[in-house]
Structures are given as structure tokens and as C-alpha cells.
Amino acid sequence: MNKELLLTAGIHLLVAIVILGFILFVVMYMIWGLRRIMGFMQVRIGPNRLGWQGLLQTPADALKLLQKEDVIPKGADRWLFTIAPIIVFVPAYMVYVVMPFGDGLIAKDLNIGILYVSAITSIAVIGIVIAGWASNNKWSLLGAFRAAAQLVAYEVPMILALCVPVIFAGSLRMGGIIEAQEGGWFTNWFIFRGYGIPALAFLIYMAAGLAEVNHIPFDIMEAESELVAGFNVEYSGMKFALFFLEEFAAAFTICAIAVTLFFGGWHAPFPFLGENLTGIAKMAVSLFWFLAKTAVFVFVLMWIRATWPRVRVDQLMNFGWKVMIPMGLFILLAAGTVVTLGWVKL
């Protein structure tokens, strides 16, 4: 064991803990924000008692869940029941290795960043199916199978949409894709270029993303009114909290990847808002823009959640297979054609 390696490992450990803390913090305040915003939109108040404006509500809820009884139902497979939440949580957290938080703020700017994200997130399906099966509950099993069918159906259009910015940037690397949108002005972001093709790709990506993170209008796998709660009916305490954590962390990931691929990542919308900085200042400003843009999308997600109804299972599956996939293939070939004809300056 040489010293250099240990030092690198120590730095990475620190980074890993910072990322974990970041996820916990963001998820806690996403939940708080969701409850307050939905309360506002539904003309009620939402949690406002614990701490200023109810800011301590979610940490208190987390502590409460920690003290709850860990019920394992009769007939459940104890081992699988216990490791399923871990299988679901680990990939949702590992995605953050390649998350471009800011200029120079990527834990590891992997050469195949986007491919890594889609590969790692595809593991969560296994955890969900295992959770549903291990619970020995009909609702759980039905919810798990619906979840798996939904997740796999929307993974295909999602990857098709991801490939459009990859064509425009010529890179799978997160940093590379963001660098391709450089230039200071927001008109350099992919969403405003290429005759609306990336904009269409963005819509497909967001729709598929909503389905991937089990968000309204595609929260079929949870569907309180018909399936009780889906694959996690039997879960209580911290195991349930891990599923909850994963869901919100994944929703944040969807928004952050959308910002990276289509909205210029960490770049400011106008050159005078922080393009000519260096060092720590550049890092801080780029981090601010990345988080600010992502926060806008997180808000839009909550807005959707407060206003839209849920689709039916058959509508969901038909939309995924019969509309999203042909549309994804079409925009991909359209993007290829536009680049071949030299109509976009890249």
C-alpha cells in the first residue's frame, strides 16, 4: 500500500460522504418542498409547525421512521426482503459519481458517462421485482410486475432520446456534452439548437423520465387507489425509507441529467453572469447555475404532481410502446440527417 493511493482513496471517501450528505439533504427538502407546494396549489397549508415554516418536518419524519418496528410479514423471504431496498438504493446513489455538479465538480468524468447512467439505473428493476416477490403479498407482486413492465418499456425511448445530444456533442462524457454547449449565451444550449429536434428529444426524455421514477401521471406501480402502494406495501421503517429516498433521488437525477444534456449544464444563461471567472469562484458559480436549473425542473415535477391525473395501465403501456419508441427512432434519424446535411453549426 503506497501513500499516494491511500490519499486518493481518502479523498474519494470524503467525496462519497459529501455526495451522500447532499442526496439526503436534497431529498429531505424535496419532500418538504413537495408538501408545501402541493399544499399551496391545493389551497391548504402543508407542514409548517416543526421549525421555521416546517423545515424540520422531514428530518423528524426520518427519525420517526428509524424508530418504527421493522415488520417482516409471515411467509416472506427474510433475506431477499432485507436486501431488496439495498439493491434499489445503491444504483440510485452510484449515479452521482458522474454527476456534473459544476466546473471541476465531478467525482469522475467517465468517458462513457451517459452509458454508465443508463446501465446503473437499469439495476433498480431487479430490486423492485425482488421486493415485490419477497413480500409474499399479492399487491406487492402485482405492483412489482407492473413496475418492471413500465420501467423496461420506458427505458428504450429514454435511451433513444439521450442519444440526440450525444450526436450533437460527439461525446458520451458528461463534461464533454456540457463543453459542447459552451459560449456564454443560452442560445448555445442544445434545447435551442438543431431545429427543435433536441427540444423534442427533451420532451421524450422527460416523459420517459417521469415513468422511470414512478411519477404522476405515470405512477401506475404505486397507484394508491387500486394497488394500495405497489411493491412496497409490506415495507416499514428504514427499509421503506430507503425506497422513498431512492424515488426522490432518482427524480433529482432525471432533472439534473436533463439540465446537463439539454440546458447547458453548469453554464450561465448570459455571459456576464459568471463565464469569465476562475478558480473557486468559477466552481461556486457553476454549481449555483447547475443547482438553480435543476431546481426549476424539480419544481415543474411537483407542479405536474399537483395538477395531473394518473393514466391507466393500458394507456401507459400503449403510449410507451406505440408512441414513444417510434418518435424516439424518428428524432434520432432526424438528428443524424440534420448533422449530415450540415444544417447545424457544431
Binding site: L5, A9, H12, L13, A16, I17, I19, L65, Q67, E69, D70, V71, I72, P73, K74, G75, P85, I86, F89, V90, Y93, M94, Y96, V97, K108, L115, W133, S135, N136, N137, K138, W139, L141, F145, A148, A149, V152, V156, I159, V166, I167, F168, A169, G170, L172, V233, G237, M238, K239, L242, D314, L316, M317, K322, L332, L333, G336, V339, T340, L346
Partner: protein, 121 residues
């Protein structure tokens, strides 16, 4: 070379330690007062009827099968998309290659559509 994957290993260890630790902690802190009714599978308040693990509709297998085929199709899109910009002279050739590839798959797609495999009734 392999040192570049160190962050992944460390994040994996932290993730497993955190999630495993949280579950273990809640087992230690939480009360343990099991009773037969609490441990019974939840069926909206009814006494559970019959076994849980019964055969499901074939469409689930079909969806999973078709997903694998489409998944294999789209993994070819990553290398295609990433070299598209740099391969200046060969772009038309690349585009035609992909149109032929996807065209053949479209035949299969139309076939499964016409056969009703995509219908979720």
C-alpha cells in the same frame, strides 16, 4: 489504469454501508412486538385468500422479451451516436447504415404490432 475506477468502488462501499447500516439501526432501535395479525400479508383488511405466487399473464414475459431485443438494438446506438460528429466524411454512410439496421427492425416492430403483442388489454 484501474485506479480510475476507485471512486466507483468507494461509493459502492459507502452506499452498501449506509443502506445496510440504516436497516440494522432501525432493527436495533425499533420495537419488536409481533403478533399473527400484524405479520399476515396485507390484503386490504381481509384474511388472505389463497397463495401469493400464482401464474401471471403471458404478456409480462412478452414485454420482457421484446424489451431485451430493443435493448440490444439500442446499445448499437451509443457508439453510433458518439462517432457521428467526428466521422465527418463518413456521416452519410453511417446514416444509411443505421437506416438499414433500423429498417430491418421496423419490419419486426410492425409485425409485433400487427400481431397485437403491444396491446395491453
Amino acid at each position: 489504469m484501474l485506479v480510475q475506477y476507485l471512486p466507483f468502488l468507494i461509493l459502492f462501499i459507502v452506499a452498501v454501508a449506509f443502506s445496510g447500516g440504516a436497516i440494522l439501526l432501525s432493527r436495533l432501535l425499533g420495537p419488536k412486538r409481533p403478533n399473527p395479525v400484524k405479520l399476515a400479508p396485507y390484503e386490504s383488511g381481509m384474511v388472505p385468500i389463497g397463495g401469493t405466487r400464482r401464474p401471471f399473464h403471458i404478456r409480462y414475459y412478452l414485454v420482457a422479451m421484446l424489451f431485451i431485443l430493443f435493448d440490444i438494438e439500442i446499445i448499437f446506438l451509443y457508439p453510433w451516436a458518439v462517432i457521428y460528429l467526428t466521422a465527418r466524411a463518413a456521416r452519410l454512410f453511417l446514416l444509411l447504415e443505421m437506416i438499414v439496421f433500423l429498417g430491418v427492425l421496423m419490419i419486426g416492430y410492425i409485425y409485433i404490432w400487427r400481431k397485437g403483442a403491444l396491446d395491453w388489454e
